[in-house]
């Protein structure tokens, strides 16, 4: 498949960031760079949406293939991180929609990820506080979790978060404030 033909509906490429000329062939070396530099960020964002480790890995894989195929069309390389995270988010959302659209036998649904039961000793030893925090993170809605990941972990500016998630600025700020409040409450037990 030619790079110009690889653009699926999941990939949103801004018109001003795309070459108007015929795109080049993707560079194999860049694939390695994409995976090593952005693999973790893509995984975290995907996991914040799908809340499943193996599904997040599948989405990361799909994102890397899509990004690498479409990379020659990206003119503004400074926007690469935001661009690849946007592909990851769109891929995660499409995956979730496709899964919801499938009529499945209830027994075939994947088990939701839950915090494993731990002994009193191990909870006291410190691992439990992280589990409690992960549980609090899971309690947030998908959008809030993605906002937290993009702002608190990736350190992206608000305008870039709005572009990636396609939500207005007040929504980002309000959701982030509420999410921080909830997560900070669960972190108080760390002190």
């Amino acid at each position: 498949m030619l790079p110009s033909e690889s653009t699926s509906p999941d990939i949103v490429i801004e018109p001003d960031s795309v070459e108007s000329t015929t795109p080049e062939t993707p560079d194999p070396d860049e694939l390695h760079t994409l995976v090593t530099e952005y693999g973790d960020a893509v995984y975290r964002l995907a996991r914040s949406v799908v809340r499943d480790t193996s599904l997040a890995e599948d989405i990361a894989q799909e994102t890397m293939v899509k990004a690498w195929m479409a990379l020659p069309t990206l003119r503004n390389r400074a926007a690469l991180r935001g661009w690849i995270l946007r592909i990851a988010h769109n891929t995660a959302i499409s995956t979730m929609r496709a899964r919801k659209a499938l009529v499945m036998d209830p027994h075939e649904f994947p088990e939701p990820e839950s915090v494993p039961e731990r002994s009193v000793e191990s909870r006291v030893q410190g691992g439990a506080v992280m589990d409690d925090f992960a549980e609090a993170l899971n309690q947030l809605d998908d959008l809030s979790r993605s906002i937290v990941v993009l702002r608190e972990v990736e350190g992206l500016p608000y305008d870039e978060i709005c572009e990636i998630l396609e939500v207005p600025l007040p929504t980002v700020k309000t959701r982030l404030l509420r999410a921080r409040r909830k997560l900070s409450a669960s972190m108080r037990s760390w002190e």
Binding site: G39, A60, Q61, M130, L183
Partner: protein, 86 residues
């Protein structure tokens, strides 16, 4: 409206604090990063999986090209045969 005003003022205060601390990594960021961290061997597995997916795409593309070439050859032969019979 009072609730909305309270939220707005809290937002303003929080944004001001955040701007002052911009660039510093927060404990919350560390905790989220750890909670959603990929498995230890994730990067290597991702590289292998992506390469496998691209290889299978290449093979599929090659097979599709061969099939299309065969189809085109058959079509040309049939057209030639038709011309010969006329």
């Amino acid at each position: 409206m009072r609730f909305r005003n309270a939220i707005d003022s809290e937002l303003e205060q929080w944004l001001a604090e955040e701007e002052a601390n911009d660039g510093e990594s927060s404990p919350l960021g560390h905790a989220v990063s750890e909670a959603l961290a990929p498995p230890p061997d994730y990067t290597n597995r991702l590289i292998v999986a992506v390469n496998d997916q691209l290889s299978s795409r290449q093979v599929f593309g090659l097979v599709a090209d061969l099939f299309a070439a065969g189809l085109e050859t058959s079509r040309l032969l049939l057209v030639e045969d038709d011309h010969d019979t006329e």
